[in-house]
């Protein structure tokens, strides 16, 4: 027997349907542009064409054969590697001090350490650039790495703090009660337990530096540009598959990183800000 659903029941189902439909639409909105990049990277025509007419790897060949793009890619990787090391060292030690140092006003200091996340990165670049001009040091590579490090530190601080605040401090107390000094406790208990947070922070620092645009804008020296800057300059005049290929390379790197994150720490811890 089929009975007609009562009105409230119908609105309930309609509401559920709208809720789910809206969420599906948002997920499509988030992922569609990324899918389209793959379509254009594999499209053989020299201009954007939709629907695609075939599959070709010519834009990947062009990207990997381009000296400009390759120099930029290597510079980006080099800067990102140096940034990751520096930001992880600075950020992880700062997070330890903030969580366990008993510092007065640690909340304010945390806010300050996280402030590069919200202050316009373009201003970090501008302010550093103006300081270098004032000091007449030119645009050195360390100056670029320094800029990237400043905007990457907050990510390391945040992920490390999240882990430090979530684990059982009684483990540390136990070590202390068993006679370990504060330093030994940190190296043998706290640090190993904090590793997932530090690693996640390092991965974020790498991505933030690798994709960094606004800070680099003022700090790269002409002729030695990072990948995002080279892509941007290319995009201003051309809109062909080379950018698509370069983008796919970046995206694959990002996806690898997300998988790595899930493996090391689990994605759930990123819901916390």
């Amino acid at each position: 027997m089929i009975t007609a659903p009562s009105t409230p029941r119908l609105t309930l189902r309609l509401g559920r349907f709208c809720y789910l439909a809206l969420n599906v639409a948002v997920v499509v909105f988030l992922l569609a542009p990324i899918a389209i990049v793959f379509v254009f990277a594999l499209n053989p025509t020299p201009y954007i064409q939709f629907p695609p007419v075939g599959v070709s790897l010519r834009w990947f060949e062009k990207f990997f054969a381009s000296r400009d793009f390759m120099n930029a890619l290597w510079l980006s990787l080099e800067v990102a590697a140096m940034t990751t090391i520096a930001a992880t060292l600075f950020g992880a030690s700062a997070a330890l001090a903030l969580a366990r140092g008993g510092l007065p006003g640690s909340r304010v200091i945390t806010a300050i350490m996280l402030s590069p996340l919200m202050l316009p990165a373009i201003l970090t670049g501008l302010a550093l650039f103006q300081s270098y001009v004032l000091l007449d040091v030119g645009r050195p590579l360390w100056g670029l790495v320094l800029g990237h490090t400043l905007v990457s530190i907050p990510y390391v601080v945040r992920t490390t703090l999240a882990v430090l605040q979530n684990f059982d401090t009684r483990l540390e107390e136990a070590a202390r009660n068993l006679g370990a000094g504060p330093l030994r406790t940190y190296f043998e208990v706290t640090l190993p337990l904090t590793k997932p947070g530090v690693m996640a922070g390092a991965v974020f620092a790498f991505i933030v530096s690798f994709d960094q645009f606004p800070v680099s804008l003022f700090l790269v020296s002409p002729g030695r540009e990072t990948l995002p800057i080279t892509l941007f300059n290319y995009l201003k005049f051309d809109l062909d598959g080379t950018i698509g290929a370069a983008s796919v390379v970046s995206i694959l790197l990002a996806v690898l990183v997300v998988f790595g994150l899930d493996r090391t720490v689990g994605l759930r811890s990123y819901a916390k800000l």
Partner: protein, 290 residues
């Protein structure tokens, strides 16, 4: 709190390297920028450098600069509104979803674009919206339109691109806050006869207000400082504050004026940062009470 009572431990010294780095290469440069915005030249290489307010007067005297600032703020507001409207439902779903796999997949959908880089994502939107882009070609191919729709090079495309870039920040802020609201409160309201919609509107929504404010401030702060998307999606037609700042350095090498404009952007952002920290403090304060 307990740590503070126990006093400062030697671990506190680990803050020193970062404190030094921030002091020397973050706050000092910002201070120098403030100084440069008030000087007639570079005191290191030039003699006879004087204090001047001419750069700020230039901003105040010309309505063009007000228009640029207003455009920047308007784009920021529209982006924030759009990010909130589409980010809230997704954050709500993520906070309430039961399965770990479903959650991980949704999180992946949020994180993948976030880690994809601004230039790449702006390219993606250009490939979708341009005259020969996917949307126009598909519509022409289907015979629905004969001439391409002007989807790009306007404020709409800038806001669309920026919303895509910053909505993950909104979602991540909201997931944390909504996840902390006890679901049973909503169930109780429903048991008392409220419809799910009413229970949401009268229980969950008000309780998530601090998250809405924090996420909105974050997205707004990020959107007003964007450079790549407004320049490429606006086709060099619509001027925003970050674009103007870079233009002053790259084409006119007017360091003093760029510094003054930078101070305007910094002031707006600082107000937002302080408000954001207040609100986030409020959110975690609520957690401490529970």
């Amino acid at each position: 709190m307990n740590a503070a009572r126990a006093g400062i431990t030697p671990i506190a010294w680990l803050i020193a390297p970062s404190a030094l780095l921030f002091a020397l290469f973050f706050f000092l440069p910002m201070g120098l920028m403030a100084m440069i915005s008030l000087l007639t030249g570079n005191p290191v290489v030039q003699a006879n450098v004087d204090f001047t307010t001419k750069y700020y007067r230039r901003i105040l005297d010309d309505t063009y600069y007000f228009e640029v600032i207003w455009t920047t703020l308007r784009i920021g507001l529209l982006t924030t509104l759009a990010a909130l409207l589409i980010g809230y439902p997704l954050a709500h779903l993520m906070a309430r979803v039961r399965g770990r796999t479903a959650y991980a997949m949704l999180m992946m959908a949020v994180l993948t674009p976030m880690l994809t880089g601004i230039v790449v994502r702006t390219f993606a939107w250009m490939a979708l919206l341009s005259d020969k882009g996917a949307i126009n070609q598909a519509l022409i191919g289907l015979g629905l339109i004969s001439k391409p729709l002007p989807l790009m090079y306007n404020e709409f495309s800038i806001v669309l691109g920026l919303t895509h870039i910053y909505v993950p920040y909104m979602v991540l802020t909201l997931v944390g806050v909504i996840g902390r609201i006890d679901e049973r409160l909503e169930h109780a309201a429903q048991n008392l006869g409220a419809s799910p919609l009413r229970a949401f509107l009268e229980v969950t929504l008000p309780l998530s207000l601090p998250g809405i404010l924090a996420g909105s401030l974050l997205v707004f702060a990020l959107a007003i400082s964007a450079y790549v998307t407004p320049i490429l999606m606006g086709g060099f037609q619509i001027m925003t504050l970050p674009m103007l700042i870079y233009q002053q350095i790259s084409s006119s090498f007017n360091v003093g004026f760029a510094a003054a404009l930078g101070m305007v952007l910094l002031t707006i952002s600082l107000v937002l940062v302080i408000a954001y920290n207040r609100i986030l403090g409020l959110v975690s304060g609520q957690r401490d009470l529970q």
